[in-house]
């Protein structure tokens, strides 16, 4: 067992891999992650010359292309910090780096392909175990923790009803997340709770939400839009039925999927929902007293500023 305080100290400086979505449509996630890091005194060292992790698309051409892409990101992250920990807030990136790590540790064929492409590309082959990938949730939970957030936020989110939505890539498939499902204190793949814990520590009221790990149809958001709209509508309606005012997200694909299909559901199926959609980092930022513009809340498609003003959160 690693000493918890020692680990917390180590993680105060991590390599940061934003990924393509956070530079584009999910920019609010990037801005708010950096803003809370600054506020909390945590250091983010950007991974140099990173590339796309392969997202959900590349594996359908061939899964090993994704393994290579993610392994290159990991090789860029090695030595970016002393502890070789890379933090990826995007669920897709996080999932792919974890998957590459697992495949490289367990599958000779993956190792051979990655070695071959890396040699041609002219860089050192990444070897399993050289870096550790964590999610933004792990990062806040392990460095600041619930106690730290309680002290810093003084329950600022009190009275805010939140449905925490984790999505698919953070928990499935189970085998690529060996640190999850390890009993008390660890994350659960069937009922994840890290986001619930952090937001509750900031004073929010988490509503009962059975669709925490339901799928938003993000992979087919454009190629099979009606399917995605139906899946998103399920999530939005379930959140509202359970009294949520806000859905907290931790993935740019889920986030923009919920936002886009909330509008599309109204246009196409005449089903209007009013629940607002915010990144959990934006909510934590508000709890820490950071202004909504500094958290990129105005760049979200889902309009939530008037609501936040009404709640006295800005």
């Amino acid at each position: 067992m690693v000493d918890v305080t020692e680990r917390a100290k180590q993680l105060r400086e991590v390599a940061y891999y934003p990924g393509c979505a956070l530079e584009g449509s999910g920019n609010g996630y990037d801005v708010s992650t950096r803003a809370i890091a600054h506020n909390l005194g945590l250091k983010l060292r950007d991974v140099k010359d990173w590339n796309c992790c392969g997202a959900m698309e590349v594996k359908n051409i061939d899964p090993k292309i994704q393994t290579y892409l993610s392994s290159r990101v990991l090789s860029q992250a090695v030595n970016a910090t002393r502890n070789n920990v890379v933090m990826a807030p995007c669920n897709g990136c996080y999932h792919n780096l974890k998957k590459a790590e697992y495949d490289l540790a367990h599958d000779q064929n993956s190792r051979d392909v990655v070695e071959k492409i890396s040699a041609k590309a002219g860089h050192k082959t990444y070897e399993a175990g050289q870096a550790e990938t964590i999610h933004a949730l792990d990062w806040i939970k392990e460095t600041i923790g619930e106690e730290g957030l309680r002290e810093r936020t003084k329950g600022k989110l009190a009275g805010l009803k939140i449905a925490n939505y984790y999505g698919c890539m953070y928990v499935r498939p189970r085998h690529i997340f060996p640190e999850k499902d390890q009993g008390p204190g660890s994350e659960s793949t069937s009922k994840p709770h890290f986001m619930d814990d952090l937001l509750a520590a900031a004073g929010a009221e988490n509503v009962e939400f059975p669709l925490k790990t339901a799928c938003c149809g993000g992979a087919h958001t454009l190629s099979d839009s009606d399917m995605s709209t139906k899946l998103v509508l399920n999530i939005l309606q379930a959140a509202e039925a359970n009294g949520a005012e806000v859905i907290a997200t931790e993935c740019p694909t889920c986030h923009s999927g919920l936002e886009m299909h909330q509008i599309r559901a109204e246009k196409r199926f005449g089903k209007k929902t009013n629940v607002r959609i915010l990144y959990f980092t934006q909510l934590l930022g508000l709890a820490l007293g950071i202004g909504p513009r500094k958290l990129g809340i105005h760049t979200n498609i889902s309009e939530s500023i008037p609501f936040l003003v009404e709640k006295g959160l800005t």
């Binding site: 393509c20 979505a21 530079e23 584009g24 010359d49 990173w50 590339n51 796309c52 392969g54 997202a55 698309e57 590349v58 594996k59 359908n60 051409i61 061939d62 899964p63 090993k64 292309i65 290579y68 892409l69 290159r72 392909v113 071959k116 492409i117 041609k120 590309a121 002219g122 860089h123 698919c168 928990v171 499935r172 498939p173 189970r174 793949t189 339901a214 799928c215 149809g217 993000g218 992979a219 087919h220 454009l222 190629s223 099979d224 399917m227 995605s228 139906k230 899946l231 936002e259 886009m260 509008i263 599309r264 246009k267 196409r268 105005h298 760049t299 979200n300 498609i301 309009e303 500023i305």
Partner: protein, 262 residues
């Protein structure tokens, strides 16, 4: 769909005759319904092996038909005909014509991995769905699915630049699938955010649209990936060429070339 709600005889196999007399007995009309007998003889024994040779399909032989995949399936809940357990059964038994009835559904798998999470035999049904969708396209049974077009555009951009630019992927996708660039819901989204976004943000996205974000020093990696893609595609084709399928048509060659970084 629960099995007891399922009609076990397909409507096209049920016939009634307006005017039919058999051995002096008038059997016209609905009182005497005939069921067409069906004998399955067109097995494609190579199908399982071919699908197993495509990425994702490797573990199909492990399936013992428990149905956990279909039970947990995201798409099945919305489209009851989407049935991974049944399709795996058809593939393993070589019932190609039966599988082809659902050929336009299989690509709809959203890769949520609930099946892989639930599967007690590590079949990775999600992978099998992707491999089957590939197989259908490569054999010319179906045109390239919108999902495959999207995946290709995405991969092309990565091979070329190392990174993705959202707007460009969106525009190229709508163009290649012959859809209007301004969908009504997209218009609504643009209008929603345009009003409250600072000019700086607009300039920034215009900038990244014109000057595609790219990874420094990507050229060699991109070329290496392109080589690898060509190699695996030849490998996949060879794996399918080895089998015999009665439906493989040469007039309709699978369009699987990635034309990036040329």
């Amino acid at each position: 769909m629960p099995i007891h709600e399922k009609s076990l005889i397909r409507p096209e196999n049920i016939t009634t005759h307006d005017d039919l007399v058999i051995e002096g007995v008038d059997v016209s009309g609905h009182w005497s319904t005939f069921i067409e007998t069906r004998v399955i003889a067109d097995y494609n024994e190579a199908m399982e092996e071919e699908i197993a040779a495509l990425p994702g399909g490797e573990n199909i032989h492990r399936c013992w038909q428990c149905g956990s995949c279909t039970n947990s399936c995201t798409v099945h809940a919305i489209e009851p005909r989407f049935n991974p357990r049944y399709w795996i059964y058809l593939i393993r038994t070589g019932m190609e014509s039966e599988l082809l009835r659902d050929k336009d559904l299989i690509w709809q798998c959203v890769s949520c991995n609930k099946c892989t999470y639930a599967c007690p035999r590590d079949v990775v049904p999600e992978g099998v769905m992707k491999a089957t969708a590939h197989w259908l396209e490569m054999k010319g049974h179906v045109p390239e699915s919108p999902s495959m077009i999207f995946d290709k555009i995405f991969t092309e951009q990565i091979v070329e630049h190392g990174r993705i630019e959202d707007t460009k992927v969106l525009m190229q996708f709508l163009k290649r699938t012959n859809q209007p660039l301004m969908q009504d819901w997209l218009k609504q989204i643009v209008m929603n955010i345009a009003a409250r976004l600072p000019v700086k943000w607009g300039l920034k996205s215009a900038w990244s649209f014109v000057f595609h974000p790219r990874t420094r020093g990507w050229k060699k990696a991109g070329a290496a990936l392109q080589d690898y893609i060509i190699e695996v595609e030849q490998h996949h084709k060879a794996a399918l060429g080895a089998g015999t399928s009665n439906a493989a048509s040469n007039d309709n060659p699978p369009q699987r070339k990635l034309h990036a970084a040329e």
